[in-house]
Symmetry: C2
């Protein structure tokens, strides 16, 4: 993977070629920041594709362009690195979750939420895949997230939806299964993006196709719960 038996001061040259040009200011803190970012990005890619057990630290290091030992300098264990990746993903998820609130009517609120989730599936598909892998594996690392944060959020939103039903704003359906449907449908475009691309003559959805998908999903769900469009 790397050369060996080379003279010692080739290190400098190797470092440059491995890490690329520096970003500007020469602080140590900047080096740290830069390397941690590269590692976290590579880790998200590899964890998304292979899951926690299937991912190898050497593969992550390779994709980040650094030796494995250097990866372990910044992130002592694979688990620690994985937790950092999961943390980032969950925070992004939380942000999207906030877009579903009670500030306006059901149609606007749900449209905004569905669009936010769809956009997230396009801009950050890796996060969704890491999450999917984690759930498929029965959430060995994030069970606490599910039991606390996600449960509280879900309870509050099902309550909100139930109020919409009680006020006659939407048809009576079980709120939980509406939420699951929105999650499933929007995240499908990230998790199953490869299948969708394959069925699209091997190409990723174009901007226009993406907009049409968003529109179709939103229309079916809103009309499905009795909101005219």
């Amino acid at each position: 993977m790397h050369g060996f038996d080379q003279p010692v001061n080739v290190f400098w040259g190797k470092k440059m070629s491995a890490q690329g040009a520096s970003i500007g200011n020469g602080h140590k803190a900047a080096i740290r920041e830069e390397n941690e970012k590269a590692i976290l990005e590579a880790a998200e890619e590899v964890f998304a594709e292979y899951g926690f057990s299937g991912a190898s630290t050497s593969r992550i290091a390779e994709r980040a362009g650094i030796p494995k030992a250097n990866l372990h300098y910044y992130f002592p264990t694979k688990e620690e690195l994985y937790r950092r990746v999961i943390d980032n993903i969950f925070n992004i998820w939380l942000e999207a979750a906030n877009s579903l609130d009670d500030s306006d009517d059901p149609g606007q609120a749900l449209t905004r939420y569905i669009h936010t989730k769809m956009d997230l599936s396009r801009s950050r598909p890796l996060g969704s895949k890491v999450w999917a892998n984690e759930i498929i594996q029965r959430a060995p690392m994030i069970q606490d997230y599910l039991e606390v944060t996600l449960r509280e959020w879900t309870d509050s939103r099902t309550g909100m939806i139930q109020r919409w039903i009680d006020e006659g704003k939407i048809l009576p359906i079980e709120p939980r299964y509406l939420l699951y449907m929105i999650w499933a449908t929007t995240q499908h475009y990230a998790d199953f993006g490869h299948q969708i691309a394959t069925l699209n003559e091997g190409r990723e959805l174009s901007d226009a196709q993406w907009e049409e998908a968003k529109r179709t999903v939103t229309e079916i769900i809103l009309r499905g719960i009795g909101i005219a469009s």
Copy 2:
């Protein structure tokens, strides 16, 4: 994992304890059938949870209750075993796919298809998970299935849906995205079953809850494309 340094003819005793009582007729063919079945079941479990790269043959053998060497006697390579598992899953998927046909009106056809897919998610969640893992990993093993069989099936069904639209039986939506929505929503109950159970106070959905989920999903989708219910 297994004992060692034991007298040779303990083999008999070990074999019995490892494989349990024989199923009846003592054909060699029966032994083969029985062992292959046990291995395939264990493999589906482990591949579902860890994906291809994350799964280990020793773990599969352990779960099947046989030594790893015996697993490799029946399935020489991990890849071969994986292909057999994938084959089984795809055949089941094909069976479900046949339930979406043109023999009756859109409402009945789609209701039957959604129910079949939902039932499959409950009875065979592992298959769905193996498939999900494979797609997330960009389908290294089943790309041919996607490009040929799945593509042909999808093209024929989108054509059928488009005809329904042209005949004014359902509202004009892009057929592809309707299919994706059905796949996403129904398979979500298998792939994300752990998350759903966690949000259900840690319990799997009861029979009644399952029926309500099916009803909710079907209602929203049918109403969403303009079929009254």
